[in-house]
């Protein structure tokens, strides 16, 4: 029989609430060798150290695993090359200096002001279409990031449903575990997404505009950095889907948290200036990305635990960001202390992220 498992992320009760599992891990085995051999980390300080130490811990464990898997299956006569092609330039799977270079190009092409206007206009449009009673996740949180990225990247609005479908398909490549059936689906979505983007890049090269894709192409030309079509396809795929699930999770669990904490909800409603802090606090309290992966680049020791070269580390951001007192169900929108402890994620591509499991996918009406 299976032994008692500290790490059991697929159990229903842990999906519904992983924080008790995290807490037990943090107390009993903060650097835990899981049944599948990877090390699961739950302490804030350990996770911060690993994320900051890019010399000893590299990003890209999902990409490396999928590359090995695709090679293995190729020898069995199965072709999943589209999956590795789609992933070849995912920024979160990259390491310095390539990561630094791509990040700089995206940041120069990215215009916060333009993006804010697009987001605001999309929010207005969605709220107008929502009516008095609506499903927050399905009718608002899910369409918002896809509509936004479609506009930021200059693609036709009519393609939005197709793009949502293929982006959601490719996103599964970042799941913690991938089955053969998952690979079949990711492969199909990757092919469709790349075919579409190939035509789109042809069009944009002939008709450059002020959209993000044209600006990235221009950045490469101005800096005289060679970039292949294959790389551009992958860069575009990742940009499109990067904020998709994280945004849905943040909006859904953020409002859910507020509804469960009526005093905090009232405080925010009566003082909208608290909003920025509230978003940070929501990111910390219910991390939209629960797990990220790293690979050890050499043999080393972390807090007395021996780590071997090529060991995979699963970093639980969800655990790290919920410090002990938060287990008492405390959130505090006015706390500035929290801001210094939160491991930031999405806004600036600061840390590589990996999908954990979709805890927040259930939708509900409000």
């Amino acid at each position: 029989m299976a032994t008692s498992r500290l790490w059991d992320p697929f159990a229903d009760h842990h999906r519904a609430n992983p924080y008790l599992m995290y807490e037990r891990l943090r107390v009993e085995s903060p650097i835990h060798r899981s049944q599948s051999g990877d090390l699961v980390l739950t302490r804030y300080a350990d996770i911060r150290n690993v994320l900051q130490n890019t010399e000893d811990f590299r990003a890209g464990n999902r990409k490396e695993w999928i590359e090995r898997q695709v090679t293995y299956l190729h020898n069995k006569g199965e072709d999943f090359k589209a999956v590795t092609d789609a992933m070849n330039s995912f920024i979160v799977m990259m390491n310095p200096p390539e990561h630094t270079q791509l990040r700089a190009i995206i940041m120069e092409a990215w215009d916060d002001h333009d993006v804010d206007l697009i987001i605001k206009s999309n929010i207005d449009e969605l709220l107008l279409s929502c009516g008095k009673s609506f499903d927050l996740v399905k009718d608002f949180a899910e369409p918002l990031p896809v509509m936004t990225m479609t506009r930021i990247m200059g693609m036709p609005h009519k393609d939005y449903n197709f793009l949502k479908q293929v982006a959601t398909g490719v996103l599964r490549s970042l799941d913690m575990y991938t089955s053969f059936k998952d690979l079949v689906k990711i492969d199909a979505a990757s092919k469709q997404f790349m075919e579409y983007l190939n035509r789109y890049l042809d069009y944009r090269e002939a008709n450059p505009s002020t959209d993000l894709v044209s600006k990235i192409v221009r950045q490469y030309q101005q800096k005289n950095i060679p970039v292949s079509r294959k790389q551009m396809l992958s860069i575009c795929i990742f940009l499109f889907m990067a904020g998709e699930e994280t945004t849905v999770n943040l909006i859904g669990s953020g409002l859910y948290t507020l509804l469960n904490h009526p005093q905090q909800h009232s405080a925010l409603v009566s003082d909208p200036a608290l909003l920025d802090n509230a978003v940070d606090e929501a990111l910390r309290y219910e991390s939209p990305v629960q797990l990220v992966g790293r690979i050890a680049s050499r043999d080393l020791e972390l807090n007395g635990v021996a780590i071997k070269k090529e060991d995979t580390l699963t970093l639980s951001l969800g655990a790290a960001n919920r410090i002990r007192k938060c287990l008492l169900n405390q959130i505090n929108l006015t706390s500035i202390e929290m801001q210094s402890t939160t491991l930031p994620l999405v806004p600036a591509f600061t840390f590589a992220w990996d999908r954990g499991w979709q805890r927040n996918s259930g939708s509900w009406r409000c």
Partner: protein, 93 residues
């Protein structure tokens, strides 16, 4: 659906693991840790798929690690298949 006997599951597992790891099927012991045969995070995906097809069940990606011998795995799968005891794995995906 036709019930599957425990022996059938054991025989199937031995054959499929032998094929993937290129070992003689007679060398596959039911009490040995699967890792000893060379089952790893890469080839286990293919083995799991064949097992799902054989049993017509959706199985946990952590299955081989949670039940790390052919014996424990077969008993678990037998119960899962024949007793409809799918609760533990009910929402793997």
């Amino acid at each position: 659906m036709k019930p599957v006997e425990l022996d059938e599951i054991i025989t199937f597992l031995k054959q499929v693991i032998a094929r993937e790891t290129k070992l003689d099927v007679n060398k596959i012991e039911v009490d040995q840790h699967l890792g000893v045969f060379g089952l790893d995070s890469i080839n286990s995906v293919y083995v799991l798929q064949q097992l799902e097809d054989f049993l017509q069940l959706e199985l946990s990606p952590l299955l081989f690690w949670d039940y790390p011998t052919i014996k424990s795995l077969s008993i678990h799968l037998y119960q899962l298949k024949n007793n409809g005891n799918e609760q533990a794995l009910g929402s793997i995906r």
